[in-house]
């Protein structure tokens, strides 16, 4: 039996310990904000926070999540919107939106450790997250806006 916390609540899981966290939160818990994009950690659509670190949930097994604290987009901000979400709206980042939850989770974790990122630092932090619609230019602007808000 694997014990973990998801968005602050305790959970236990007795299924296949090799099941990736992504499918646990989506299919078992019904938290569908985290997205399936590639299944091998190459696109970032599935990004969640595990003990505060941006993590690709599609390649993180339930075994490796035991005793950890998982935050998905559904638990990113308890009251209203997180500054990154607000910035995403202010800059009107999303097109189809499918990758944006992963982008936001990646950016939120990044901004926790980097208060005033440069373009190069943003590119380095965000280069694991693919957006096929091509909203990257706005993502850069939104991250800077959110950084200002969080400072």
């Amino acid at each position: 039996m694997i014990q973990l916390k998801v968005n602050g609540g305790g959970q236990s899981f007795d299924g296949d310990p090799e099941m990736p966290l992504l499918w646990y939160v989506r299919d078992v818990l019904g938290l569908t904000g985290s997205k399936f994009g590639c299944g091998i950690g190459l696109c970032g659509a599935c990004t969640v926070h595990v003990n505060g670190q941006a993590t690709r949930s599609c390649v993180t097994t339930m075994r490796d999540t035991a005793e950890k604290e998982v935050i998905t987009i559904e638990g990113l901000e308890k009251n209203g919107l997180h500054p990154v979400q607000k910035a995403w709206m202010q800059i009107n980042v999303p097109q189809c939106g499918y990758c944006q939850v992963g982008q936001i989770m990646q950016a939120a974790a990044f901004l926790n450790s980097k208060k005033k990122p440069t373009d190069a630092e943003i590119d380095a932090a965000m280069s694991g997250n693919i957006c096929r619609c091509g909203t990257y230019q706005r993502i850069r602007v939104a991250i800077k806006a959110a950084a200002g808000e969080m400072a």
């Binding site: 299924g15 997205k35 994009g37 979400q85 995403w88 189809c96 230019q137």
Partner: protein, 753 residues
């Protein structure tokens, strides 16, 4: 109640793509539901108190329901079209609720492709809004005992200024509902000066849902009792299962059942590809079970298909005379004069869509009917193929349209929804079919691979006296007709038969090519290769003539004129040439404007740096793009800046339009940098984002500036037209920076990355 309002509520708009200038409003009627009359797919608009259009309903609380009948895949059409309704209605956007239509012919064509949502539905949306506004005014005038002509509307209210009276739309809805629906001739449309939303735009209605993870994509659809399926498909198109062993797969925890899907009868069209499905309790178990299947395949004749040999075949065909699809003057006579000539070959490989949301669909077969939930661009196409596969009527297929995690044309082809429906019938449960990324890459409807050959005879100034161009590609029609080998007029029209140059002798040709994979539409479609070929060859001729590429391009476009397509089969994207003539002056204008905006010829470029330009009309929109690149000694290409100017006629939502062109530059970057699908022995070589790479944040233009020409011309497309000129301008910039001429995409063929 007049006769007009008693129109049957089941009358449908007929016909396919509605030609511009001949727009039909969905049948207008009041919602008069009797007990037992409720259809499973009635919208809130249908059931609203005032309901003068299939697209619109107003409730006594003032809520305005607007039906989005087109699919939302990121272009914001789900917001932009309702904005047109709201504007003409003078509605408060905050009181508007948008609901997504199911697949239903009463909305007209719903296949959200070809960049024509606004173009084809702008008038219908205006009419819907104006109709309701007219009735609300009539109702208020009647209540107040004043002439309707003295009443007007402000935001969500009807007012009578001289008596200082006003009434909200909600209060008037019931009274308005008792009045006859006006004829179109009776409607008064708002003047441009009074537009609230059109031309100003609005962010996506779904914006907050998109950033909070609450938005519902096909991947997120869930139905009680649903099981999950993953399908192992024949690796080669047309292949069949010879035998299979499912013992190990059935041992995987969570796997319930193994179900074969029949192979298709050619042509493939939108039929499931066949194969073996693993049915499980969750997605992961289905994926795991699938890995344990042992299947032996009969690959069939397409096993002989190899991309490298096929490329040679296409090229060989392009070097011989092909079918002439448009000609002026006499190229042969001009070439035989023995002057200076120049020739070049270009090549664009197969391309995959790779939308971020892999294909997925939920379907439930019950009591002879199917209900599907799918991220589809084409819900009526879903009804059609599902009904054929299951032998039921299309009217017994209800297709709910979720949000789409990208589409780019792939989700116009509903093979994946048909799979879910077939599996639901076989298992007796609702089934969610989830494609892996590998499935998505390997079983796409690819953008055609194309080989192009160009030859020009040149005068003393390096200007062509004769121009010959041949393109050879497996046509999209080959997906629907096994014998089709030539390009069909609508796709040859995509930047090929409509080459806009003012030259005395031209021969525009197309050669045959047989398809061995499914060929389909991808954002910009044939314009991708045609735009690349023509705009690259133009740049090559300019540099050979030692002329400025901008000045040379304008010289070839020639004076402002309307292209005469007499004797040419030129479908013009389904639009009439009267309403949407091909005006070279508009192409000149965007070209001149992008030169000015980008500082063409004024900025200095150091070693390894340069700019390129290209201009292209597609989907009735004129676009010119300047790309700046910096190339390191190691061949790494950076893109510091892109400037792009578009003339799309009336632009309803400029904000969304800018986003589309920013995105088009990124999409074009992916095509040019690394876009390449290949096959070995008929099976696709690529599988996921490690070998079908798409542009990441550190590889895309650092800054894309989008400029929209202010125009009163009728609205044209914005989703696709940004891609073709970007690709050519990018490659022309690489030449300017390095002297390396990219003729075969992607640029990795030239030691560039």
């Amino acid at each position: 109640m007049s006769e007009v309002v008693n129109v049957s509520r089941r009358r449908f708009v007929t016909g396919g793509i509605i030609a511009a200038g001949a727009l039909v409003l969905g049948v207008r009627y009041y919602s008069r539901l009797s007990p037992g009359d409720k259809l499973p797919h009635d919208t809130n608009a249908d059931q609203a108190k005032l309901h003068p259009s299939v697209y619109l309903g107003i409730n006594p609380d003032g809520t305005v329901w607007i039906v989005a009948a087109r699919s939302e895949m990121g272009t914001t059409s789900r917001t932009t079209l309702p904005l047109v309704v709201a504007d003409e209605l003078d509605a408060d956007w905050k009181q508007v609720k948008i609901e997504q239509a199911i697949g239903d012919k009463r909305y007209g064509d719903q296949n959200t492709d070809g960049s024509h949502s606004v173009r084809s539905y702008y008038d219908a949306m205006r009419e819907a809004g104006a109709t309701a506004r007219h009735m609300l005014i009539q109702a208020a005038a009647k209540q107040w005992g004043v002439p309707a002509t003295e009443c007007e509307t402000e935001l969500h209210v009807v007012v009578h200024r001289s008596t200082n009276r006003s009434a909200g739309y909600g209060e008037l809805a019931s009274a308005a509902a008792k009045l006859p629906v006006p004829k179109r001739e009776e409607l008064r449309f708002k003047p441009k000066s009074a537009w609230r939303y059109v031309g100003k735009g609005e962010v996506s209605y779904d914006l907050e849902a998109l950033v909070t993870g609450k938005a519902m994509y096909g991947m997120d659809a869930r139905v009680d009792g649903m099981v999950y399926a993953s399908v192992e498909r024949p690796p080669v198109l047309g292949g069949k299962v010879k035998s299979y062993d499912d013992k190990d797969a059935l041992k995987v925890a969570g796997v319930r059942q193994i179900v074969p899907i029949d192979p298709f009868q050619p042509p493939p069209a939108f039929q499931p590809l066949g194969g073996i499905a693993v049915i499980a309790d969750n997605t992961w178990a289905a994926f795991q079970g699938r890995k344990k299947l042992n299947i032996s395949w009969d690959n069939g004749p397409n096993e002989a298909y190899n991309s490298a040999a096929y490329k040679d075949e296409l090229r060989e065909t392009s070097r011989k005379p092909c079918k002439v699809v448009r000609s002026t003057g006499d190229v042969d006579a001009a070439f035989s004069k023995g002057g200076k000539t120049f020739e070049a070959d270009y090549y664009v490989p197969l391309l995959a869509h790779a939308a971020m949301e892999p294909l997925v669909a939920v379907a439930e077969f019950k009591d002879g009917k199917v209900t599907a939930w799918a991220p589809t661009q084409n819900p009526q196409g879903v009804q059609d193929i599902v009904s054929k596969e299951l032998g039921i009527s299309p009217n017994d297929v209800i297709c709910h349209v979720t949000l789409l995690g990208g589409g780019f044309g792939r989700k116009s082809k509903p093979d994946y929804v048909a799979e879910a429906a077939v599996l639901s019938k076989k298992t007796g449960r609702p089934v969610k079919v989830v494609w892996t990324r590998e499935d998505d890459i390997k079983f796409d409807y690819y953008n055609a691979v194309a080989a192009m050959y160009f030859k020009a005879a040149l005068d003393a100034k390096g200007k062509p006296t004769a121009w010959l161009q041949r393109s050879v590609f497996p046509p999209i029609t080959s997906t629907f007709d096994v014998n089709a080998v030539y390009g069909d007029p609508p796709h040859l029209a995509q930047g090929w038969t409509d080459i806009p140059y003012d030259l005395p002798n031209m021969s525009i040709e197309n050669g045959p090519a047989k398809g061995h994979v499914r060929i389909g539409w991808l954002r910009s479609v044939a314009n991708i290769y045609h735009g690349f070929g023509i705009q690259s060859f133009t740049d090559e001729l300019a540099t050979r003539a030692h002329r400025d590429p901008l000045e040379y391009l304008l010289d070839l476009i020639g004076p402002a004129r309307t292209i005469d397509f007499k004797g040419v089969n030129y479908p013009n994207y389904g639009a009439s040439l009267e309403t949407y003539p091909w005006e070279t002056g508009r192409l000149r204008h965007v070209t001149e404007m992008v030169a000015e905006k980008s500082g063409w010829g004024k900025r200095k470029h150091g070693k390894g740096s340069g700019v390129g330009i290209a201009a292209h009309r597609s989907f009735l929109t004129y676009v010119a793009t300047v790309v700046e690149v910096e190339v390191s000694d190691q061949g790494e290409v950076r893109i510091p800046r892109v400037d792009t100017v578009l003339d799309a006629g009336l632009v309803v939502n400029p904000e969304a339009t800018r986003a589309q062109f920013e995105g088009a530059a990124v999409f074009g970057t992916s095509v040019a940098r690394s876009g390449q699908i290949t096959a070995t022995k008929g099976a696709i070589d690529q599988s996921n984002f490690q070998d079908y790479t798409v542009a990441r944040i550190n590889e895309v233009p650092a800054q894309t500036n989008v400029y929209i020409v202010d125009s009163d011309a009728p609205p044209a497309g914005v989703g696709e037209p940004g891609v073709p000129p970007f690709i050519a301008a990018f490659c022309n910039a690489i030449y300017a920076a390095t002297g390396k001429r990219v003729r075969d995409l992607p640029i990795t063929n030239y030691g560039l990355s």
